[in-house]
Amino acid sequence: MELTTIKDAFDRVNKKQKLSSSKSQEVIDQVGREIEQALEKIQSADDPTSPFDQKSILTDLVLELNAIDPLHQLEGPQKELNLNLSKYQKLLERFFNPDISKAYRNVDFDLHIVNQILASHFYQEGLFDLGDSILNEAGEPEATVLKSQFLDMHQIIEAARLRNLEPALKWASTNREKLKQNGSKIELKLHQLQFLDVLQKGTRADAVIYARTYLAPFYSLHKKEFQKLMCCLLWAGRIGSAPYPEITSPSHWENLTEELTREFCSVLGHSYGSPLGVAISAGIEGLPTLLKLVSVMSAKKQEWQAMKQLPVPVELGKEFQFHSIFVCPVSRDQGSEENPPMLMPCSHVLCKQSMMKLSKSGTRSFKCPYCPAEISVGQWRQLYF
């Protein structure tokens, strides 16, 4: 792995730096000692037996220090240190891309929009103080509505995590219509969990009352689930042994927070994942391709800044495919309203324009470019993805 090489290079830098710094300490001590010795001699010069006089002591000291040559002593270690510093830097430039802004188009992002995006990212992640903090530091207006929506969400989810479903149930009944439109079963699921909880902790009678009050309204829409739930009454206090793992499995609790988040965001018209997180991840996956592209078309810097469509595909993971895009295998054109995909009887698909070309504007039959099938006039139909 390349990183090992880089780490080794850094360790060498670090070693040389320590060497150089202990050398300078050593030299300082050496010089200090010489001066101190001279100082002692001068101080003891009162002694008539002392052969030294002040002048010669100082001259000797100068000679001594010249011999030590402190600056020269540091030259060697410094030179080695500098050598390793520049080696390491070159290594970084070789293994990493030293300028990832090469594919950057010179457009200024609207600062306010970016700040709002950051704040709503923080709110969505439940980091409310950070959301408030950035709006405050950036001098942006408060995002009260958004904040209170996510505040509700995180309170409901936090409560559910502690197995308190009251807030979630209240929210589900308030948004019953919308949830129904989305085909969500979350309200039934919440009541189901609550019912089983009552059954486990309370009495059968409590559970029956709960079922009558809250589960009965779901009977007509979810008969099977309802019947199984009522059978659970037979296993009061030992729910785990009921023969309906699809209902009693503890994984329901584990998945609940994710499910609640999903439903809550969907009701509000938000995405489940932070859109900022999604866009940045797409950028991290896509940027290497863009940088390679720029390096091969470096001569055409102008074109890069002005193009309406990227000249090559940037392959992103499945999780970033949000739209159906049809590309005609013959013409390589992207499907559109004017030029939609057409299905032939052999199950191969071409775009309308390619089909028109092959069939001479729909006047004669032709052979499918991908199989031996003969396609007669009018034997094709438009597809909708």
Binding site: F10, Q17, P70, A279, M307, P313, F322, I325, Y370
Partner: protein
Amino acid sequence: MDSLSNGAAAATIATRTTPITTTPAPPSSKLAHLTESLKLEHQFLRVPFEHYKKSIRADHRVFEKEMSAVISGVTEAADADVSKDDAVHHLSSLVSKLQGLKRKLEGGSRIENLQAQRCRARLDHLESADAENLTDWNNTRLKRILVDYMLRMSYYDTAAKLAESNNIQDLVDIDVFQEAKRVIDALQNKEVAPALAWCADNKSRLKKSKSKFEFQLRLQEFIELVRAENSMRAITYARKYLSPWGATHTKELQRVMATLAFKSNTECARYKVLFEPIQWDFLVDQFKQEFCRLYGMTLEPLLNIYLQAGLSALKTPYCYEDDCTKEDPLSQDNFRKLALPLPYSKQHHSKLVCYITKELMDTENPPQVLPNGYVYSTKALEEMAKKNNGKITCPRTGLICDYLDLVKAYIS
């Protein structure tokens, strides 16, 4: 992932005689993406290294300066005729100077050790990314990118909070930006002294990159003297600080000297603009650029770079339609606005997403066609058929048909 395509050009596909049915989906490309994305982390390693290098250089300069002073101090004493007391006093002061130097370098050495640790912590962090912790690692990367943005925008409190609450202080450059903050704060208060001191500190590197930031600071100081109607001082100032730049920046120098004749209330647009407060904002921007360049950072925040690449890769004409799925960031107005000046992505191969499950339709989960031409994934249709005794209801048109009425579509 591109499991519908077989990577062949149209010509080779055309020679096939059988429908393309099974091309195995490529193995998860996530780790390949990771390796590629690690190469984008130059700044992550370079900034702490520059910081480290800077301390090393500064300490060495201190050593050279102080040591030379001590040696010449001794030489002077030896050359002069001084009393014994003076000699003792002089040498003692040199000894304490050396002790001071020693303490200073010890302190410097401690800082350098911390900086080296930080460099190593970042190398370790890059090395730690693997298949098991990828989600966490990616989350941390997003946070690093956010902190970088906030530091560059001077949102220091939020940046520090985010770093502290996630315990990633070693992975972000808060302390490096402290240095920038001092200069920026001063410039915003219309003070140039800290900026000039910063230029002096980094003189050789600024010179190497042919920076004219110091000249711009000097021009601003000159303009302030003209504004204060202090012509004589302005002229003295210009002779001392501006004329050295005259040879390389003649035009700018001439323009600014002309303000002496116009004063700050001039209506002449060419000179009026020089007196406007926005000049200070330019200086702040200029400083930020020089600062980033010096530390080996990109001039744009990482957030902008990644966001731009991501939005471009995601941008399709369908993103701007009303039925764009909420999971697409480009369904949101804010993201749409940011993406407006960016190019659309390009596809060489079809990528089909099931309207019902939102999953990619590939060879594992191929598309099937209803009699009305609407296409859904096999998975979605099978499930629907199972629940409704083999009946399929088209969610977009309401058409009801039999599962057996469906036909396959081969899409390459």
